[in-house]
């Protein structure tokens, strides 16, 4: 008999924990195409889903992989695929389709060094902008970014919850170092939330495919194969799902696709703030580099220096209020990320007006604690 306090340890990679989190969230359909460093998710989903009689299948390419998942989701089942930069390049068409048709789907995107085929076995955080800013029209795609295997589990669960709640594709943006490093995971300490559920329409006669009164509302679902007729299209459409050109209702739908997400950015914010009274420097990071940041903070505080740290788990929508709160009393902000230009720093720039902003950037290997420490004065 296992008691609650007794640790339940397993030696797992971040990739395995994304799969565990997906299954716990009720994912029943996975289609995959191999790519380093994301293949571990594919393999784990094959193992976890097939033995339950759920669907985990091989696709002939990443376009098919995501299209199979979107189709399965339209039929009413939670679905996920996994990829890395080169595969993501092929999925951009289909993720936009999911967004436009308000079809929830989760994409686990495990970053490696780019551009092009880049470095398959080298970590990177160079796809922050590529993953977020991939839609014609510039729509917000929610992105969660884990730094540990336990976060892989929790944030994948959350990704499904968001996808279902918002009716939109959600990305779990991991990287090679989080995805392929094995670590000790205590399953007894993982969150034990119930799987998210879809709210289906019950009134088929009078309701439209995408019923909403205010732009921010998320319409209830109709599933292909259900009693209510589905009318879905990736083209601009009215609330009935009918292809239209520029009429008022169609433009309303196009605004709604963004407003339903942007209006919830406070409730979607996931950050961990480790504040220290009297600190004038705030370090901000995410993903694998957030761990380097934690190490640095532990080290410099031992030396008597004061520093605050903010880990960001929800990169998009940008958790602006949490960032502003963390900036109170701070004069210098150090933003650490494993890409050469400071991609997320460029996104945060408008929030940081009036502060001294320093980037810690690097490609080819993880940012080290010493490299962040150099910037803490």
């Amino acid at each position: 008999m296992t008691t609650l306090s007794e640790p339940k340890l397993r030696f797992c990679t971040g990739n395995q924990m994304i799969a565990e989190g997906a299954v716990r969230a009720g994912c029943r359909f996975f289609a995959g195409y191999p790519i380093t460093p994301a293949s571990g998710i594919y393999k784990s989903m094959i193992d976890l889903l097939q033995r339950r009689g759920d669907v985990a299948i091989s696709a002939p390419d990443e376009i098919s992989a995501l299209a199979y998942c979107v189709g399965a989701s339209m039929r009413g089942f939670k679905s996920m695929t996994a990829t890395s930069g080169p595969g993501w390049a092929l999925m951009i068409e289909t993720i936009q389709y999911a967004l436009m048709t308000e079809t929830p789907v989760v994409i686990a995107f495990v970053q490696r060094l780019g551009p092009s085929t880049g470095g398959a076995t080298q970590g990177a955080q160079g796809d922050i902008l590529l993953s977020e800013f991939c839609t014609s029209g510039g729509y917000t795609i929610p992105i969660l970014c884990p730094s540990t295997p336990a976060e892989c589990f929790d944030l994948t669960h959350k990704a499904f919850a968001w996808a279902e709640m918002l009716r939109t594709p959600v990305i779990v943006l991991s990287d090679k170092e989080v995805g392929m490093t094995s670590e000790c995971v205590d399953f007894a300490r993982l969150s034990n939330q119930a799987p998210p559920t879809r709210k289906h329409k019950s009134d088929f006669a009078s309701s439209k495919m995408y019923d909403f009164a205010e732009r921010v509302e998320v319409p209830e679902y109709l599933s292909v194969g259900g009693m209510g007729k589905v009318t879905a299209t990736g083209s601009a459409h009215n609330k009935s799902g009918e292809l239209k050109k520029n009429d008022t209702e169609t433009l309303e739908v196009l605004h709604h696709l963004e407003e339903k997400i942007r209006s919830r950015r406070s409730e979607l914010a996931v950050t961990t703030f480790d504040g220290q009274a009297g600190a004038e420097t705030l370090v901000v990071s995410f993903g694998i580099t957030a761990r380097t940041m934690r190490e640095t903070v532990r080290n410099v505080r031992r030396l008597g220096k004061k520093v605050s740290a903010l880990s960001i788990q929800s990169l998009f929508p940008v958790p602006d209020e949490k960032i502003k709160e963390a900036m109170v009393g701070i004069s210098r902000i150090v933003i650490a990320e494993e890409n050469f230009s400071g991609q997320y720093r460029s996104v945060l720039a408008p929030l940081l007006y009036g502060k001294e902003v320093v980037g810690v950037n690097k490609i080819g290997s993880m940012i080290t604690p010493a490299e962040i420490e150099e910037q803490i004065v």
Partner: protein, 407 residues
């Protein structure tokens, strides 16, 4: 209908409607998945069945996902019908090929009018030889694809080619929808807006032009010897109502360790010599002793040759940064491994406090570290050298009790 006068799409959709009526399927059990192009305007004409209008060429991939999910997770009653043009069929060729290979239970109605009608009549992969279009002004010099043959070669068991004007088309479509597995009907039609002006083409000459490319009409295959994908899947992976047992899945620490500092260990050897599995055992031993640990593996892309390296961190505290800048311990048991460490300059940075456990057959470059050698390979064999070397290290260190390390 939203189509030009004389357009074959009108015929096709009337015949498809006839087929649906003939089959008496409940509307909620039918999903039309349409592609980009004029034929994709069909959605608006069907006000009771489900309609999913997709991206260019991807219709059969979305349809495959919908159909498999319905068959394996849903009611298994859904009929999924793809309407695609010749342009879509070529840009989405891999989805059709894969659906045919899988024998996914979808019906594809391929409306071939030799060109891209919606965008101005440009030539497609289905344009006949010498076909004149705005983008082949002196006539097409590439032969048309025979999609029926391609998909037959991929195992499709229901393949037919028909004219849009064929009186039997409704019956053909109905039997395609009823076929238990992948079904393709290529329907040759006339684009009255773009195809006729520069080509001496009429409804009557369509069949002759197609046949002149050795492409034939009628039922090309019509058997059902292969079971469809979902049937095969459910045979292999039947539904289970319960999770498999947790027994043996988790580990609970049985030992205690007096370790006070984080230790970074690099184990280097050759592929196939159990370096990475030994490192995993080392980590499990650490977990057995209540310690935190991380493991990263590295090997050449081919995986089965050359060096094999594992980096292990063991710590009494939670490990944040998972890199090892200067290892506390290096365990090297093969030439491949040692060479890779030298290339990465791991050895040149070692401190006087660092420990190196080395196979005595290896020659180490100059280092400040303390070196311990033993003929691991000679004594235990190549595949046990890494394991024995780790055991050797555990015996001499106070990392954790060697009792919790099991090779």
């Amino acid at each position: 209908m939203p189509f030009c006068k004389g357009c074959g799409h009108s015929h096709v959709l009337r015949k498809m409607n006839e087929a649906l009526v003939q089959l008496q399927l409940p509307a909620s059990d039918v999903c039309l998945v349409t592609d980009i192009g004029c034929i994709g305007l069909a959605d608006a004409l069907f006000d009771s069945v489900h309609t999913v209008h997709t991206t260019h060429g991807r219709s059969s991939a979305f349809a495959t996902g919908i159909q498999i999910a319905d068959a394996l997770l849903g009611t298994g009653t859904l009929k999924t019908i793809v309407l695609i043009g010749d342009g879509g069929a070529m840009i989405g060729l891999q989805h059709l090929v894969n659906a045919a290979l899988m024998n996914a239970n979808i019906t594809v109605l391929l409306c071939n009018n030799f060109l891209f009608g919606m965008t101005g009549g440009q030539n497609s992969a289905f344009s006949p030889f010498a076909f004149v279009t705005p983008t082949t002004p002196r006539g097409n010099i590439v032969p048309p694809i025979d999609m029926c043959r391609v998909l037959t070669d991929c195992g499709a068991e229901y393949v037919a080619r028909s004219l849009a004007t064929d009186k039997e088309l409704g019956t053909i479509i109905a039997s395609a929808i009823s076929h238990p597995g992948f079904a393709l009907v290529e329907i040759v039609e006339l684009c009255t807006e773009h195809a006729m002006e520069k080509n001496s083409l009429t409804g009557k000459s369509l069949a002759r032009i197609v046949e002149s490319h050795d492409q034939h009409f009628g039922m090309l295959t019509g058997s059902a010897t292969r079971s469809e994908f979902s049937e095969r899947y459910v045979d292999k992976y039947p539904p289970r109502s319960q999770e498999t047992s947790d027994n043996g899945k988790y580990l609970t620490p049985l030992f205690k360790s007096g370790l006070t500092n984080q230790v970074g260990i690099v184990i280097a050897g050759s592929a196939g010599e159990r370096v990475q599995s030994t490192a995993k055992k080392l980590c499990e031993g650490a977990m057995n002793s209540g310690l935190w640990c991380t493991q990263k593996n590295d090997n050449p892309v081919t995986q089965g040759s050359g060096f094999s390296i594992s980096e292990v961190i063991i710590s009494p505290n939670e490990i944040f940064y998972t890199g090892i800048e200067v290892p506390d311990v290096v365990i090297a048991v093969s030439e491949d491994g040692l060479r890779e460490l030298a290339e990465k300059q791991t050895l040149s940075h070692l401190l006087p406090s660092s420990t190196v456990i080395l196979d005595s057959g290896l020659k180490l470059p100059p280092t400040n570290a303390q070196i311990f050698t033993y003929p691991f390979r000679k004594e235990y064999g190549a595949d046990k050298a890494a394991g024995r070397a780790v055991e050797f290290y555990l015996q001499m260190s106070s990392l954790f009790s060697p009792d919790s390390f099991h090779l």
